[in-house]
Symmetry: C2
Subunit: 243 residues, 2 copies
Amino acid sequence: MKENKYDNEAFFKKYAEMERSKKGLSGAGEWHELRKLMPDFKDKKVLDLGCGYGWHCKYAAENGAKSVTGIDISHKMLAKAEEINQDPVIEYRCAAMEDLSFEENSFDAVISSLAFHYVSDFGELVKNISQWLKKGGDLVFSAEHPVFTAYGSQDWYYDKDGNILHFPVDNYYYEGQREAVFLGEKVTKYHRTITTYINTLIENGFEIRSVVEPQPPEEMMDIPGMRDEMRRPMMIIIAAIKR
Amino acid sequence: MKENKYDNEAFFKKYAEMERSKKGLSGAGEWHELRKLMPDFKDKKVLDLGCGYGWHCKYAAENGAKSVTGIDISHKMLAKAEEINQDPVIEYRCAAMEDLSFEENSFDAVISSLAFHYVSDFGELVKNISQWLKKGGDLVFSAEHPVFTAYGSQDWYYDKDGNILHFPVDNYYYEGQREAVFLGEKVTKYHRTITTYINTLIENGFEIRSVVEPQPPEEMMDIPGMRDEMRRPMMIIIAAIKR
């Protein structure tokens, strides 16, 4: 199932109000970690899966990429990307990442920010990426953390006065569809374990270069609620190399 | 701090009643996964850190190891190991794994079962293991899962009627000491993130071969409470190769 929530008008509007939408990379709490793991883009052919507003495409372009292909399922997101993150080397294309087809060895680097948890068949996706990447090529992606996706609601557990008690984990080993609420809308996500994220990569010919559960950066700690982000992991970033 | 809880008489007695103590490897819910990741022991020099009753030492010996050094902090555990898991190639030695010192390239394989979460300085331990291992050597270990160690109590969260609601996660990014209750006794454990477990290995010259959060095996599902083990990960197994 390929859901295209971002073409929903209300959802798209609320997404536009997020820090990461207004400020770009510097508004994303995980960017300080993701940036460290980004490959050297100089003269590289880059594929961005679920590129959204195109911030990461633009970053790759600004860092010398030869070409950047930005893929997103949402026309609205891509229209915004064309508007604010255009570049001669970037080509934006509207498609579900599950439906893509490229020649073998088409890319030097594949990146993806917070999109793989919308994909039902991770094994099939990684198999494809492995074929599209040249030997020695980089895959760097962030996704929602399995601790964050397991239970479903993606909300804290509160006491009767509305104070956070802890974060609930349940059904961890039952992978698959979860109905979460994001920006006030029901969104379908797919939970999978850490085991699945990592071993699917290894089994498809990748070497793990780094696994990072990004903590909020010190300079964002004054933002209301940000210190709570120290209490449970929300994202996982994996950097891997195609053997 | 090196705690030696297993030399506490009451604790030792209760440990003796566990399935994994009475039945050995086949009584351990993670063995079906750990076994798959065990290296080929034929003619290998093996180090087992936190060997306990010596079941894994014996397994290595039975699978052709040239020598097996079993290390445990508890005299009582080692006395039991000498009694039930003796072998001409096995040498049991009483020590805290933090205090060990070996020549470089002393071992072909280092194994450890559910002991590393008792170690305060994981970085120092991995640095040592990396030196003790020959190039191409194996490190395979299980430890309590960060989801299991984060909160502290290591118990489910219940409703007022005593039914399990979910498993609580909290303070995930605050690594360090936790006071848990195990077999009715207070035990000191050390929480660290998935990031720390994996990247500490990579930074010390290891390649990640596999990361597995073991699920209970189908044939144990009839044991009371075992199906609840599908609701949150309790252990993590990591297999790595020294480059």
